[in-house]
Amino acid sequence: MAFMGRGRVCKFCEDRALTIDYKNVKLIRKFVNEQGKIIPGRVTGTCSRHQRQLTGAIKRARNIALLSYSGDEFSS
């Protein structure tokens, strides 16, 4: 998982072409930690507007089993 570090510019403001979509699991996975928790915007540098859209997308992805609620659920 790529870490962004503090104080960086919002990734989605920087790249306007980058749209937040619950189906884009590859992108969304960068914004949750190993436990499946949503990483706060102050850590990733995402602005509040995009962080709101992002949390919505993460929750949708979880609902349709694209993303786990609690990290890797098949750890057996």
Partner: protein, 124 residues
């Protein structure tokens, strides 16, 4: 008029003919509510992030349509009763979806789909 998108997960054993039958069934259901279908295609078989009805795999089916009056509640209660449908999610789209030319082939949204097939064969 608004655009909506319904993503549903079909039973992993449903393939080819049975999958088409399910798809046509859902499509017809949506049309009966007065919706106009923009896209309806198989997104691909994927490993689920967690078990749904004890299944580890599922076939994701995408349906995009436009409708005057939303019918989410009716659709959800109907979807709930369909045994081959493991899960479903309907979202409103901000813009009109792009019309897909190739609706037969599996979507190449990501390459995981192909990898899943390989692991499924290996696991048996």
């Amino acid at each position: 008029m608004r655009y909506y998108e319904t993503l549903y997960i079909a039973h992993p054993d449903y393939e080819d003919a049975r999958l088409d039958e399910l798809k046509n069934n859902v499509d017809e259901r949506i049309r009966n509510h007065g919706a106009e279908i923009v896209n309806s295609y198989t997104w691909g078989k994927r490993r689920l992030a967690y078990e749904v009805n004890k299944f580890r795999y599922g076939t994701y089916m995408m349906l995009q349509y436009s409708v005057q009056e939303p019918f989410i509640d009716e659709l959800n209660s109907w979807m709930e009763l369909q045994e081959p449908i493991l899960a479903y999610l309907t979202t409103r789209l901000d813009d009109a979806p792009v019309i897909r030319e190739d609706t037969n082939g599996e979507a190449s949204f990501d390459k995981q789909v192909v990898e899943v097939k390989k692991t499924m064969e290996a696991e048996g």
